[in-house]
């Protein structure tokens, strides 16, 4: 049976430390645009930790919500792309083929979660930072869109290993960089088609909800939080 990759994010566990953001940058060769460009809100964080304040001072609560590509089953970014740069893989991922992208940025407008990012300039890694580039991930040039891939390079590597060893993938064998670096274990990744996997079990939890579920995008990321009666 084909895999169907998904993730759960436990908001009650998230401490907002930002390790996932850093790990994602390192793993996926995401360019660091510098302070001037970041001030123009051109920073590219494939995963971001949204901060929301609840209540009035001094009775405030701080809430964190890590948001990455929701890998929607009915993704609004896919039909609008004129060149199939944004397309659905057989394993249900929203892939972005950088070489096909001509930079209409239509996908980013259609995405309700604003998790797509644009390379406004050619990326630069001042020496010796170029030595830390991940050889398994392509570096994007100016004018293309990029976004969270669920660390597809790690998924492929694990699948190839399993195939070579003629065995099934084990649950928890694949960990995207954000999941690996999450010290609070708020993030869980796995195969939603395997009913016994941890991510499937958590996705079925009554604590679970999808982000902007009412839009009908069928996200594969589930947010877990204590449900309160309002």
């Amino acid at each position: 049976m084909a895999h169907r990759w998904g993730m759960t994010v436990d908001l009650d566990r998230c401490t907002g430390c930002g390790a996932c953001v850093t790990a994602c940058h390192a793993e996926n060769n995401i360019a660091v645009v510098g302070d001037a460009q970041a001030a123009k809100s051109r920073a590219m964080h494939w995963i971001r930790v949204e901060r929301y304040w609840e209540g009035d001072f001094p009775d405030v609560r701080l809430k964190f919500r890590p948001v990455m590509c929701q890998q929607c089953d009915a993704a609004p970014c896919e039909p609008v792309c004129p060149t199939y740069a944004s397309h659905h893989t057989e394993e249900g991922l929203n892939a972005q083929v950088y070489n096909r992208c001509i930079g209409t940025r239509y996908c980013a407008n259609a995405c309700p979660y604003n998790v797509r990012f644009f390379d406004f300039y050619n990326p630069q890694w001042p020496k010796p930072l170029h030595l830390q580039l991940n050889p398994d991930v392509s570096v994007r040039e100016v004018g293309v869109m990029e976004k969270c891939t669920f660390c597809v390079q790690r998924i492929s590597a694990a699948e190839i290993d399993a195939k070579a060893e003629k065995r099934e993938l084990k649950d928890g064998e694949i960990t995207p960089a954000c999941v690996q670096s999450c010290s609070a274990k708020a993030l869980v990744f796995g195969d939603l088609n395997d009913p016994e996997s941890e991510v499937s079990r958590l996705s079925r939890s009554t604590r679970g909800a999808k982000l902007l579920e009412e839009l009908g995008t069928l996200p594969k990321v589930t947010y877990l939080a204590r449900q309160t009666q309002v």
């Binding site: 809100s41 948001v67 199939y84 239509y106 300039y121």
Partner: protein, 451 residues
């Protein structure tokens, strides 16, 4: 009006082609310089990276798409109006049709450049076209941007045909009146026109077919442009009203552009004997009607949004109504309704000057309308964490200014090389053409037999 004989018509309207003053060269030089500045601004952006534009996360579309929609909208004056006036056989259309159709052709060319200018990798723009290629992949026919490509190229082809067909007899006239290089040039363009009955008959049939065919194409083009927005599940865009709303706005801004162009031609080419106040008054009435229609669409769109009271829709609603975009929003309402409505309603102010003032106001207002559709929505999508502002960069502003100059330049050059008013159609108006007269007689006969 002075007696307009066939000879006088020909002399008056050929004068701009045959005599060139220093003013023409000065105008071309100034407009050309502005266009070149715009072109170099674009090259600067391509060379340094798309970051030279003002786009940012999350407002990924800005001035370029605004100008795209605006110019495609302007293109709806010409061909559509001219086709409708031809079909209803409105006699007063004769001096108006050609200068209207030219607007369509040039505005489309300018508008169609913007989707390319706005690409992150503009050197790969041809990947939008379906052609056999080594990548072995077709364009995504589900994408409204690919629909745009087909719609605009069809409309451009159709309106250029519609423009060129009735120019053929005029080219022949110029050919017969000139010598040397000019004779050769216009002789080629005239495609061997001799003015035989058969040729006239074919021309008339072709014009009829094109006039009927171009109307649904024109309506569909701006509907498809509106689909760029309404197909995306984004608050403020995802609305069924967008198709007709865009078409109405397009015709609205198009008529305004036509009135401005006609006033310019009338003044600079001394065509007071041909473009009468009655032409401006008639187009002014049409502009008034479109202003009312546009206001009705805005009202209907705003009211349904407000009544529906969807959380995300209301964010976009209030940011335009009372928030940071409200100065632009209310300027738009003033420019598109408050100013033109009284000017065009009263017969006393529906003069040439009055119509031009109203038209200038409408052009500004409609540009703002396009901007307010694109930008506030993108800056205020669902998650408040990802809201953001937008500010155009110098490059974007320069490119925008240069497109207005490009329109002026193309129009000036066209008026220099082609009679801007259709000479033969004017003559037909003075002395009804045999075929047309015969057709009218036949029509009367049919009416008489089938009361």
């Amino acid at each position: 009006m002075k007696e307009a004989t066939a000879k006088r018509i020909a002399d008056d309207l050929l004068r701009p082609l045959l005599n060139t003053s220093w003013r023409f060269f000065l105008l071309v030089a100034i407009l050309g310089a502005i266009v070149l500045t715009g072109a170099s601004a674009w090259m600067y952006q391509v060379w340094n990276g798309f970051g030279e534009s003002g786009k940012r996360w999350p407002v990924f579309w800005g001035f370029y798409i605004t100008n795209f929609v605006f110019w495609i909208g302007i293109s709806h004056a010409g061909t559509l109006i001219s086709a409708i006036l031809r079909l209803v056989n409105a006699g007063w259309r004769r001096p108006v049709t050609r200068c209207a159709e030219v607007i369509t052709a040039f505005a489309l060319m300018i508008g169609a450049m913007f989707p390319i200018i706005h690409l992150g990798r503009p050197w790969l723009f041809f990947w939008l076209m379906p052609y056999p290629n080594q990548r072995r992949i077709w364009p995504n026919f589900r994408s409204p941007l690919v629909w745009d490509f087909f719609a605009i190229s069809t409309y451009l082809t159709g309106s250029v045909l519609f423009l060129v067909l009735p120019m053929i007899p005029d080219f022949a006239l110029v050919r017969d009146k000139t010598t040397g290089v000019r004779r050769k040039f216009y002789g080629t363009l005239a495609l061997g026109w001799q003015g035989t009955t058969k040729q006239w008959h074919r021309l008339e049939s072709a014009m009829q077919i094109m006039a009927i065919a171009i109307i649904p194409v024109a309506v569909s083009v701006h509907t498809i442009v509106s689909f760029d927005f309404s197909m995306a599940p984004v608050p403020g865009w995802h609305s069924t009203i967008f198709g007709p709303y865009f078409v109405a706005g397009a015709i609205f801004s198009g008529i305004a552009a036509l009135i401005i162009a006609m006033a310019g031609l009338r003044k600079f080419l001394h065509l007071e004997d041909y473009l009468h106040p009655v032409h401006f008054a008639n187009l002014g009435k049409l502009l008034l009607m479109m202003s009312l229609l546009w206001t009705y669409f805005v009202f209907a769109e705003r009211l349904t949004t407000w009544y529906g009271n969807g959380t995300s829709e209301m964010n976009v609603f209030w940011v335009t109504q009372t928030g940071s975009y409200s100065p632009l929003y209310w300027t738009m309402v003033i420019c598109n309704f408050v100013i033109p409505f009284p000017i065009l309603s009263l017969r006393r102010t529906r003069t040439v000057t009055g119509c031009v003032i109203a038209s200038c106001s409408v052009v500004v207002g409609m540009w703002l309308e396009r901007f307010l559709i694109v930008v506030p929505t993108l800056g205020h999508k669902y998650l408040p964490y990802s809201w953001g502002p937008y500010q155009p960069s110098k490059v974007e502003i320069m490119i925008m200014i240069s497109t207005f100059a490009a329109m002026g330049l193309l129009y000036t050059l066209f008026a220099k090389f082609v009679p801007i008013i259709s000479i033969w159609e004017l003559k037909v108006g003075e002395h009804p053409f045999p075929i047309e007269a015969a057709a009218q007689v036949k029509e009367h006969a049919i009416l008489r037999t089938n009361p």
